[in-house]
């Protein structure tokens, strides 16, 4: 049985079901225990599971991460939430010098199943300190899994997979997705890391769309369909591990590649995807691969500048047209 749920509701359900299934699951984060519940994603949990398991944390992001890590050593499976990914930057020592290398350093004796949710703001004047998406950074780290779920059903399945998995994961959640709906199965289920999905099959060009860009990519693909360009939209769902097989299959078929990403262009996730294809498929492409990413610039606050900073459906359409 599945119902239409919003992305935020799907997260909420994933957390609630995980906490029901296993009392080791705890949720830490600033304001997780208020009614507004981090855009609704944690609403109601504290009433059900109490303040030990659903805990408003001091504004101490580095410690929050380390707390989750230490708690995981005692068998807990913590989920931590950052209302903005930007706030998480205080915790990069904990993530990079400790969490990422814990398993490695322990020689495989000890894992830290910690799930970190980071929400990325977009538009409406979020500005440079409330809108960064650093998924490319996280995906560079050995020992960390990175999910960029685009739909309600994926976010639920990936979250539960992460909570009950053994390797720490960072979820980069696009805030503008939170009210979008999809059919979400009622029962607990998993979506595996490292398995891309073809959101729209096509034969002319592979459009890899990362996370929050997926709806835009699908709209652009629909528009191009009318113009006779058949776009295959590939959603990797997780960047680490990255499903290279599905990627190669798709590009092997279409022999055109464009990567759309809500991150900065240079040294970003799109570079990795293009480099992988270049390494593996070499000169088998019919067009030069294209990056469709944010400019290499911090985020402007003004709506006038946002309109230029964030691409529109039409921009993507015309970027793809140029490949033909």
């Amino acid at each position: 049985m599945s119902r239409l749920l919003t992305y935020a509701q799907a997260i909420n359900e994933a957390l609630r079901q995980s906490m029901e299934l296993c009392e080791d699951v705890v949720v830490l984060g600033q304001l997780v225990d208020y009614k507004s519940g981090i855009f609704g994603t944690t609403t109601g949990l504290v009433d059900r599971f109490g303040p030990d398991r659903v805990q408003d944390f001091p504004v101490s992001e580095n410690l929050m991460t380390a707390t989750a890590m230490g708690a995981s050593l005692t068998g807990l499976r913590p989920v931590i939430v950052h209302q903005r990914l930007d706030f998480m930057l205080y915790s990069l020592d904990a993530i990079t010098n400790w969490l990422a290398l814990w398993r490695f350093k322990s020689n495989g004796h000890s894992n830290m199943p910690v799930t970190i949710r980071a929400i990325v703001g977009k538009r409406w004047g979020q500005g440079p300190q409330h809108s960064k998406s650093l998924h490319a950074w996280f995906a560079h780290l050995p020992g960390i899994r990175v999910a960029v779920p685009a739909t309600a059903d994926d976010v639920k399945g990936l979250l539960m997979e992460s909570i009950f998995g053994e390797t720490p994961a960072i979820f980069v959640e696009g805030r503008t997705l939170f009210s979008m709906t999809a059919h979400v199965p009622e029962q607990p289920y998993r979506v595996r890391f490292g398995q891309a999905t073809i959101r729209r099959p096509g034969k002319d060009v592979t459009l890899v769309a990362i996370g929050v860009i997926v709806p835009l990519a699908l709209r652009a693909a629909a528009a191009l369909d009318k113009q006779g360009i058949d776009v295959e939209v590939l959603d990797p769902r997780t960047l680490s591990p990255l499903d290279v097989n599905t990627l190669c299959e798709s590009v092997g078929k279409t022999r055109r590649l464009i990567v759309a990403d809500h991150g900065w262009t240079s040294f970003g996730a799109a570079a990795e995807i293009i480099a992988r294809i270049a390494e593996i498929l070499g000169d088998n492409l019919r067009a030069r691969p294209v990056r469709f990413c944010l400019p290499d610039s911090h985020t402007p606050m003004s709506m006038a500048l946002e309109d230029q900073y964030y691409a529109s459906d039409a921009d993507l359409v015309s970027a793809i047209q140029k490949m033909f």
Binding site: L63, A66, W124, V214, L218
Partner: protein, 380 residues
């Protein structure tokens, strides 16, 4: 010795401590003979182990990793070793050997680890400054204050499981320069977590004097305002260290909330490695001399001998046992094979998921309606 103030009469600080001259206040009557001898033996074992590692370090050059020796700082680890329970968690910093020892983690695996061998506590992946031993709940790491924060997390885990076990974090005064430390203190105080902070204040972070980095030598006064009980002791008095740690651990275990013990002590060696770092001219000779005269082992040994608890025969036997143990550890380490790399991915990621396999079903594929609008943000 009327001219020399007793430690009780001064406010303990590295600035004043050398004024006490020879430390006279160890109260061995507070402990039984067996405990005293055990404390002594543990200090001696740790000392001899460190000396042996130093001896072998250069020029043999087979232990290729930065190593921070703890000679001079044996009292706290020895005391801890009698008090910590197997199910307690113990976290330490780069100067890890004493804490590893205190947790009762297998010493031969420490030797093998610093030799980079497969049989090492971490299969040769971590070395001295990052060593851990999961089975005995011991963890360390070389980033200042990082392990203290994780120790707080373990304490939180123990608390919500209502365990009677506790978490212990060992670190130096240098770690309290880091903001991370104060986040840890704040949260421990807030939640009254079952954690004991053990700060070995040896005055220096590498070469840098505490008072070059902090306005005052007053870690206790600072920490107590964060809701953590504090005790400051002369850390080379192993009896004092033992009694203080015992009391504080009992309180933490009893649910009285977090505590910190600040033990004033001193490392005899250079900050790292067996080389001498006096070229940096950062420690007065008189200070080094004070601390060597107040060697924690010697202080206890004299008391034990005076009380007739220790004679040269017993001591000789102890030394022989310890030497044999160390020799065996070296042999184990040296004879063990080197690791080979194998699968880098599996070393860094665990792709298994036994729990998920048990709890979660597979997903039915669903469609996404691309015509729906994206959210328009509100202020937050």
């Amino acid at each position: 010795m009327a001219t020399e103030p007793a430690v009780k009469s001064i406010q303990l600080s590295h600035r004043t401590i050398t004024l006490i001259g020879r430390y006279q206040e160890m109260e061995i009557d507070l402990l039984d003979r067996q405990t005293l001898l055990f404390l002594f033996r543990q200090m001696l074992r740790l000392r001899r182990m460190e000396e042996a590692l130093m001896q072998e370090y250069h020029p043999a050059d087979e232990m290729r990793c930065p190593m921070h020796f703890c000679i001079g700082q044996e009292a706290v680890p020895a005391a801890l070793s009698l008090l910590v329970e197997p199910e307690d968690y113990l976290f330490s910093h780069h100067r890890s050997h004493g804490y590893y020892f205190a947790k009762g983690s297998p010493l031969r695996e420490l030797f093998a680890e610093v030799y980079g061998k497969e049989t090492g506590a971490n299969g040769g992946k971590a070395g001295s400054q990052d060593i851990s031993h999961h089975a005995s709940r011991f963890y360390s790491g070389a980033i200042l204050s990082g392990a203290v924060s994780i120790a707080v997390g373990a304490a939180f885990g123990l608390q919500i499981r209502k365990s009677r076990n506790i978490s212990i974090a060992g670190f130096g005064e240098g770690a309290t320069d880091e903001g991370a430390f104060w986040e840890a203190a704040n949260y421990a105080g807030l939640r009254r977590l079952p954690i004991l902070f053990v700060c070995e204040n040896n005055r220096y972070a590498t070469y840098s004097d505490q008072l070059k980095r902090q306005p005052n030598d007053n870690i206790c006064e600072r920490v107590v305002t964060f809701g953590v009980r504090t005790r400051r002791i002369f850390g080379n008095d192993v009896v004092k260290a033992y009694l203080t740690l015992r009391e504080e651990m009992a309180r933490v275990r009893g649910g009285e909330g977090p505590g910190l013990v600040e033990a004033y002590t001193y490392r005899w060696n250079s900050h790292v490695g067996p080389e001498d770092d006096n070229v940096n001219n950062y420690r007065p000779a008189s200070e080094i001399q004070f601390w060597k005269e107040n060697c924690p082992i010697r202080l206890l040994q004299e008391k034990l001998e005076a009380a007739g608890y220790l004679d040269s025969q017993t001591l000789g036997r102890m030394e022989r046992e310890i030497a044999a143990e160390i020799a065996a550890n070296f042999q184990f380490a040296k004879e063990s094979p080197f690791p080979s790399a194998g699968d880098w991915r599996a070393m860094n990621w665990d792709d298994s998921s036994p729990l998920a396999d048990r709890l979660l079903g597979a997903q039915s594929r669903s469609e996404f309606d691309q015509s729906q609008p994206e959210a328009r943000l509100e202020p937050y």
